[in-house]
């Protein structure tokens, strides 16, 4: 019987072609959109983790409250001791002290007069230290557009957009005006070692990247750091793992003795990426979008396939009539319709998934440049978006593909039960 039905599916194009096309399209779109959502969200989170939040971040309690202003007057003191303790408490994690700051950059002309001024967002990280993994996190030196990596104190990297705006380039100097930890005014001269473009719109507009020691000297922050970022030994951010680290930290691990006597306001606290600046919502959002997409596809495709099934049912009126007359139980006919739906749904899903996966691979390697559309964005969103290649892309298309086909046929097939056997002949003799 199954073989017989299969022959029908294969020989009767009207029965299989439209559903297969609809199902493949749905599966294709699901695979493609799902991988985009995952890809863009995943890249954004990865980027946030590397550039901004870490997988976890240690700051003072007071700093945490105004974290978006990078209040360096509330920075962590005794960083070396704390770092030792963190490394001892969480040996498989990587810990990176950083200073974030806002400042004004002043670009001089050949006579030393001000040619132009602009605000910059400063990142002071361990650029020069032996074995530091910070350059890797900022995708250096690949992100360098002109010039080279800083090799000594006083050399910095400047966002290419900012540099070209002021006609500055490698070898040129500029002055940074900022505030010290005590609230005093300070200015320091730096040399541009190179210009960078990260592909993160918020950063590319006006970032200056310097070595941590330079910033400590400039802002009088000896043995201090605004924040200490912690990185889990996993490729993608894992919220549960991060929360576990935080619980252990709160229970005393990694906080050492050096800070025990300090004021509660300046006691270090640890926050996961998920808990920082809306990241938790973003994570939930990503899941919700994927779920919603699949639900919508199932719904829309089911309606289309239901109608296709109704049309197919009309075309097959004779067949069902004969099957009833030959003594096939109605339930058996209905179940055979569901079986056909399963077969057609699977065929369509396989085709759609195949094409979808091919597209995902292509776009994953090519990427799609969104940066021109996001000039205004201040968020850390990757300028080049690409779909993610995850195991789910191989099966996610089957959910809407098979479900919608089953649902569509299940609805359309109800007509079989309504059919009056006594009308069989009359109807057949039209």
């Amino acid at each position: 019987m199954k073989k017989f039905l299969l022959k029908g599916i294969l020989k009767d194009k009207g029965r299989s072609l439209l559903p297969v096309i609809v199902v493949s399209l749905g599966a294709l779109l699901t695979v493609f959109l799902y991988s985009w959502v995952k890809g863009v969200m995943g890249d954004s989170i990865e980027m946030s983790s590397n550039f901004d939040t870490g997988d976890v971040k240690v700051v003072t309690r007071a700093y945490a409250r105004q974290a978006d202003q990078y209040p360096n007057d509330l920075a962590i003191l005794g960083v070396d001791t704390l770092l030792e303790a963190l490394k001892a408490g969480f040996p498989d994690m990587d810990w990176a002290p950083r200073i974030r700051f806002g400042a004004l950059a002043d670009f001089p002309d050949s006579l030393g007069e001000t040619r132009g001024q602009g605000p910059v967002a400063g990142w002071a990280v361990d650029l020069l230290g032996e074995g530091s993994r910070e350059p890797e996190r900022f995708n250096l030196p690949a992100a360098i557009v002109r010039g080279r990596m800083p090799e000594s104190r006083g050399e910095v990297l400047l966002a290419e957009n900012l540099a070209s705006r002021f006609d500055a380039g490698p070898g040129d100097s500029f002055t940074l005006f900022g505030t010290t930890m005590e609230g005093g005014f300070t200015f320091v001269n730096y040399t541009i070692a190179g210009t960078v473009r990260f592909g993160a719109t918020g950063l590319d507009r006006g970032a200056v990247l310097m070595d941590l020691q330079d910033a400590r000297a400039a802002f009088a922050m000896e043995d201090a750091a605004g924040e200490i970022l912690g990185f889990l030994p996993v490729f993608h951010y894992d919220d549960r793992m991060a929360q576990e680290v935080v619980s252990r930290f709160q229970a005393g691990a990694g906080s050492g003795d050096g800070i025990s006597g300090q004021d509660q306001e300046y006691a270090p606290v640890m926050i996961t990426l998920g808990r920082q600046a809306g990241m938790a919502e973003m994570l939930v959002y990503a899941e919700a979008i994927s779920g919603m997409l699949i639900f919508l596809f199932v719904l829309a495709m089911s309606i289309v396939l239901w109608n296709a099934g109704l049309l197919g049912g009309l075309r097959r009126y004779t067949e069902f009539g004969i099957r009833i007359a030959l003594g096939e139980d109605k339930g058996h006919i209905y179940r055979s319709l569901l079986w056909e739906a399963l077969v057609i749904g699977s065929i369509g899903s396989i085709l759609g998934t195949f094409v979808g996966v091919v597209f995902v691979y292509i776009f994953h390697h090519v990427g799609f440049n969104f940066s021109s559309m996001m000039q205004q964005a201040s968020m850390l969103i990757p300028g080049i978006m690409r779909p993610a290649i995850t195991p789910a892309i191989y099966y996610i298309g089957f959910i809407p593909g098979v479900l919608s086909m089953l649902l569509g046929n299940a609805l359309a097939g109800r007509g079989i039960y309504k059919r009056q056997t006594s009308r069989l002949f009359n109807e057949l003799e039209v």
Partner: protein, 230 residues
């Protein structure tokens, strides 16, 4: 009632809802068809021929009275039981041949056997045998679209008898056929009736069919007007 009765109808009425009241399509039918009969129901359009065949074929139920077919009381059968009765005991031949266009002649006939648990080699043997009976063994691989009307009806006959039912119901089988083909298919059925002992019950108003019948029941306005052996 004889022991070899295949169909027994007793005080059978069939009413259909019509407007506010009902329309009586069959009135007080009392008939018995024995094993091996080759009989026909004859009557003008609307006289109730199809309605009667539907009830005998367990596709419909009587409103009053009883219909016993192959030992089963049609009145009380569930949908499933009725399907099983048709599957095991009754073959149908329709006015429009109702072959499935996507399948070959062979597959159309084989279809009738798929519901029964018959092994593939046995199925093949039976399908080819049936096609030989109707003289179409050489067209087994053809599609219905490439056959003439007469050939299509012969395939339908092969489909009806391939499972060797005790009873074949044929509702105006020659209505769409020309004279030569009408003769041909009725003769074919007559041979099968003789060789296999299959009971055939026709509805027809075709003179050419009537001349082959052993017994003719005349229906008029839903009632038996005449029941005569030929």
């Amino acid at each position: 009632m004889t022991d070899n009765a295949i169909v027994t109808l007793r005080e059978l009425y069939k009413r259909f809802p019509a407007g506010k009241g009902t329309f009586t399509a069959l009135k007080d039918i009392n008939l018995t068809f024995g094993k091996g009969e080759f009989s026909g129901i004859v009557g003008p359009s609307g006289s109730g021929k199809t309605t009667l065949l539907n009830i005998i074929g367990s596709l419909d139920t009587p409103t009053e009275g009883t219909a016993t077919v192959l030992g089963k009381k049609i009145n009380v059968l569930s949908q499933k039981e009725a399907a099983a009765l048709r599957n095991n005991g009754i073959g149908f031949i329709f006015q429009t041949y109702n072959l499935l266009p996507v399948y070959t002649v062979y597959e159309n006939v084989e279809f009738a056997l798929l519901l029964q648990k018959i092994s593939a080699p046995e199925r093949k043997k039976r399908v080819m045998e049936s096609l030989q009976w109707v003289g179409l063994a050489d067209r087994a691989a053809s599609r219905p679209a490439s056959l003439s009307g007469g050939e299509c009806q012969r395939v339908a006959i092969a489909r009806a008898i391939v499972k060797r039912p005790a009873l074949v119901l044929a509702d105006e089988p020659s209505a769409n056929l020309d004279s030569a083909n009408s003769h041909h298919i009725v003769r074919t059925m007559k041979e099968l009736n003789r060789e296999l002992g299959t009971t055939f019950l026709f509805s027809t108003h075709d003179e050419k069919v009537m001349q082959y019948l052993d017994r003719i029941i005349y229906l008029k306005d839903g009632a038996v007007e005449k029941d005569e052996l030929c």
